[in-house]
């Protein structure tokens, strides 16, 4: 079946089997390989993208369900060479170790701050419960998200 999605601001079309998962469409058809497949069971969150501005696990959504919707992947966050503030905060705070969970973590964290711009450390830990880091690097991931929130709130004042 034919589908059309807007990915990172660009309209893309594809011809998919109904059973094609969204993450495979993004990776294999659109060559957007920043989104990773981790557990493949909607547990780990490595495949997190934004669908209509909200974090979603793209391994648990059919490409067909995304037809006509607005998607953002990790590739869509930076503005050219300028990293998104969340990406920069992960970099500055060493919010990654092996890096495999990082695209999903960053996408989940951006969605988290959209919904709660001024989270406590507990809010961040609970808000990222859908994302697993098997390096167990959670401490600096939480620090990165809090730094990004503080920076955004500072800029708003």
């Amino acid at each position: 079946m034919k589908i059309t999605v807007t990915v990172n601001g660009v309209e893309r079309t594809g011809d998919v089997e109904p059973r094609t998962l969204l993450v495979h469409f993004l990776r294999d058809e659109l060559n957007l390989t920043g989104t990773n497949v981790g557990c493949d069971t909607s547990s780990c969150g490595a495949c997190t993208i934004h669908v209509e501005g909200q974090s979603v696990k793209s391994c648990t959504m059919l490409a067909a369900q995304a037809d006509g919707l607005d998607l953002t992947t990790i590739e869509g966050l930076a503005n050219g060479d300028i990293l998104h503030p969340m990406q920069r905060c992960f970099q500055e705070n060493h919010g990654l170790q092996c890096g495999y969970c990082t695209p999903g973590m960053v996408m989940a964290a951006v969605s988290l701050l959209d919904e709660n711009p001024n989270p406590s450390e507990t809010d961040v830990r609970i808000g990222l419960e859908g994302n697993l880091c098997r390096c167990t690097g959670y401490h600096n991931i939480v620090k990165s998200v809090l730094a990004c929130a503080a920076e955004s709130n500072g800029a708003a004042k």
């Binding site: 109904p18 059973r19 069971t41 979603v56 969605s111």
Partner: protein
Amino acid sequence: MIPAAFEYVRADSVDAALSALTEYGDEAKLLAGGHSLIPLMKLRLAAPSVLVDVGRLDDLRYINDAGDYISIGALTRHRDLETSSLLASAAPLLAHAAGHVGDPQVRHRGTIGGSLAHADPASDLPAVALAMGATIVATGPNGTREIAASEFYTGFLESALAPDELLTEIRIPKLDTQGWSFQKFNRRAQDWAIVGVATVRANGSTGVGLVNMGSTPLLASAVMDAVKSGANAADAAALANEGTEAQSDINASSEYREHLVRVLVRRSLEESGLS
């Protein structure tokens, strides 16, 4: 993991969904948010030959004050329930429990109608619907009918919905809530409840729903009767495993669940204000 092949039909109206169900019969499954069904399909534990996608029926995404009850459209997402100011005041147990389903990503996609119709005894919201005395509205070729939540669950992953019916609305009675509690016991964040308990005390009675204590979501009838007869929390909770048929699995034995449910029901009754 890829689901088995199927034919995909997107319904753009309730009528279109009903027509598709009539046309394809038992071969068809309804797809809402997909966060229960797609994982099962990926594991090939479910392999419907037709998926009827009702996920775009935005007409069924609402939370309204309907006078005596709150009406909730079947396509309302967990995130909508979690953040609804109407539910926060009129049905705080539901809003709170919805915020404990899965994780944020799951709550952005999963729907209340999908969760109730999937009829998984390990899901949180069916037990909440039971405790609150919700009514489920089913729409079929011959119109709509109301089904009490207590009559809705008929077996493991089975409900009173006919194959040609669509769950369209959930009605939550507006209760004069004296107290409520949601207890979800699990070992890790985002896990299913090993055992869960939803309690609401309102209008002079107490409703207690149990998660993962049998092949269907259950009401703790013995506990509710005991509270009605004046038992205190500890004495009523001692009856919490009556009428249950907890299974053993990788997370817990049935004996462990029977112990746990009595502990959680006591906590739940106490948290909702029963001494």
